[in-house]
Symmetry: C2
Subunit: 355 residues, 2 copies
């Protein structure tokens, strides 16, 4: 891992994807992770987590707060945050660090204290590493994608739901049974679906936008998947859906190592415009074409106007949508892995679903 | 809400409990929340979230990034984070703020930018408000506590599990079915249970420490509950459990409005020591007596050596434990609400469970 300073520092717990990626330590307690220029790593955990960290984390050198004098620092400072900052400063000094790189999202209170002692650089070399997935990570995402499609297919074969809440509960429960956690699943119908993130409530109307993004309970990786269920004839909705399906399939056909994300996004926009669908004032195609996915549901790269080169091993979503207040919304979404010659769809499922 | 500066600012999404508490807006997109001295609030969201925020958030005044010129700032700065910081600076200036209070955990990159323009104070008035729960919040926690006990009781009446993983999966699935999400449930057995946070794996041995802390899928509030299941005779474990049960019941009997948290903690320590259980080197009673609970699993106050006055309406856990490498660990835990004259246990369930 490359970084500009003597050390790279992360504080956090397993909810911080960068921390989890580097340590593989599933903890809910805040810990300190440090890596020096020569590759030496150190993980500092509360003493009650020490033995577990030694067993479970992939970091070799592990210390606990208490043995480094944390309790004494709390007594001295009478302030936990200050004691925590001083503990980190002490550790960094023992590593002979003069400069420290930290992620942009580091707690400000700590960063201000570090700034008094070290040259501080905002930099996150983990993000750069996480954007291209390892073979194991791709396997993890494939598995959660497989489970997602399994649950979705089960839902389609057993669809007898009258209310959006029932649809959401049914697929979330099924996903849980087979190893995933899905929250905030979107099952929205009618005009309410014109808000891309409306969860949906009340009676199922003409169509349902079903957007599910489960996380594996085992590996913590995500997949992301959306289909429109066509329940009752609504020509406007079908026309919009035809356009987004075509735009999505075109995008998938051009995605490969080396292409620019903004080229993909431009292609999607151009197809939707070709169908006559305008975008303005919170209506039309009002989000990006997709986003990276992995240990976080949204991560780099963005598939938007930004000029970012896609590379083999990136895992991204491709999800054009159209939203009009007086009609409703549609979206179609797959999770794909970019390859040398194209991309592989991990959430293969038919696009036209009449229930 | 009282604060020292002209404005108090939070950036975050619904995973940030302070943000959710103030806005009641369930979003996974980063948003800006601002409150001025005169009580005026402003919530800024992405345009695709605008209509939903207007419907769902309890904040009255809502704007979207795009109408405030975010896109132009991205084009100007060629840097999303910088554009985001400049957008916030611009909003604060429009509010005529000269000083700004921010939580200690504010992203450092943003805080450094704010520091260039404003007097910055680290301060979090929301935490002070969240520590004493409203009647509605207590109802929410009561409901998740009730569900927790229901799932636990179901597990006890149907216990036929051979492996720790099965115990964990069974109660997590049951909890999910009846409205909660539980992750990282501890079902640890044998000597591994000497690590308080070991999840547990492999065959169920003499006893199981079952520690479950579900969150309501509806309200997002937590409960926290631990019992030891006694499976095969182990006198050491039973003796340890007798001590922690006595210590816990004594603690519960003295908790009331006005008592100091460190007095409760000292009482627990003294009872465990009275039984001859020593604490040193990661063995014995190696954590605090408890913690506040609400929208976060761990929040203020700590029931530890720190001198904090407990107040009616605080919801806390009471969870003494004992841990010895060569024997294993035990812990008993309830969620309670502090009242004027005592405390009310929200997770009522018998302590001695022989399966």
């Amino acid at each position: 891992m490359q970084f500009a300073s003597d050390c790279f520092l992360i504080v956090g717990d397993a909810r911080n994807a960068d921390f989890y990626y580097l340590t593989k330590f599933r903890t809910t307690n805040p810990c300190i992770y440090l890596i020096c220029k020569d590759g030496t790593e150190l993980l500092v955990v509360p003493s009650m987590e020490l033995r577990r960290a030694e067993r479970e984390s992939k970091v070799k050198e592990i210390a606990c707060y208490e043995e480094l004098g944390y309790k004494e620092l709390i007594e001295k400072t009478k302030d936990r945050r200050l004691a925590f900052s001083e503990l980190i400063i002490q550790i960094l000094k023992e590593c002979r660090a003069r400069s420290v790189s930290i992620p942009h999202e580091t707690p400000a209170f700590l960063a201000f204290k570090l700034k008094e002692e070290f040259d501080l650089n905002f930099e996150n070399p983990v993000k750069a590493r996480r954007v291209v997935k390892s073979a194991q990570e791709i396997e993890n995402i494939k598995e959660v994608a497989r489970i997602t499609v399994e649950a979705f297919d089960w839902l389609m074969r057993n669809f007898n739901f009258k209310r959006c809440e029932e649809v959401r509960n049914a697929i979330e429960l099924k996903l849980y049974e087979i190893g995933c956690i899905a929250e905030n699943t979107i099952a929205s119908s009618g005009k309410l679906s014109a808000d891309p993130h409306a969860l949906g409530s009340g009676d199922v109307e003409d169509h349902v936008v079903l957007d599910v993004f489960p996380r594996s309970r085992e590996t913590l990786y995500y997949a992301d998947f959306t289909r429109v269920l066509l329940l009752n004839k609504n020509e406007k909705i079908e026309e919009m859906y035809r356009a987004v399906v075509e735009a999505q399939e075109k995008a998938i056909s051009i995605i490969k190592d080396g292409i620019l994300a903004n080229e993909v996004h431009a292609e999607v926009k151009s197809i939707l415009e070709g169908y006559g669908f305008k975008s303005k004032n919170s209506e039309g195609f009002i989000h990006s074409t997709g986003h990276g996915i992995g240990l976080e549901i949204h991560e780099e790269p963005r598939i938007s106007d930004e000029k970012v080169e896609l590379k083999a091993g990136m895992v991204i979503t491709v999800e054009p949508g159209l939203y009009y207040k007086d009609v409703g919304g549609v979206r179609v979404e797959d999770t794909v892995v970019v390859t040398k010659s194209g991309c592989e769809v991990l959430t293969n499922y038919k696009k036209w679903i009449k229930v």
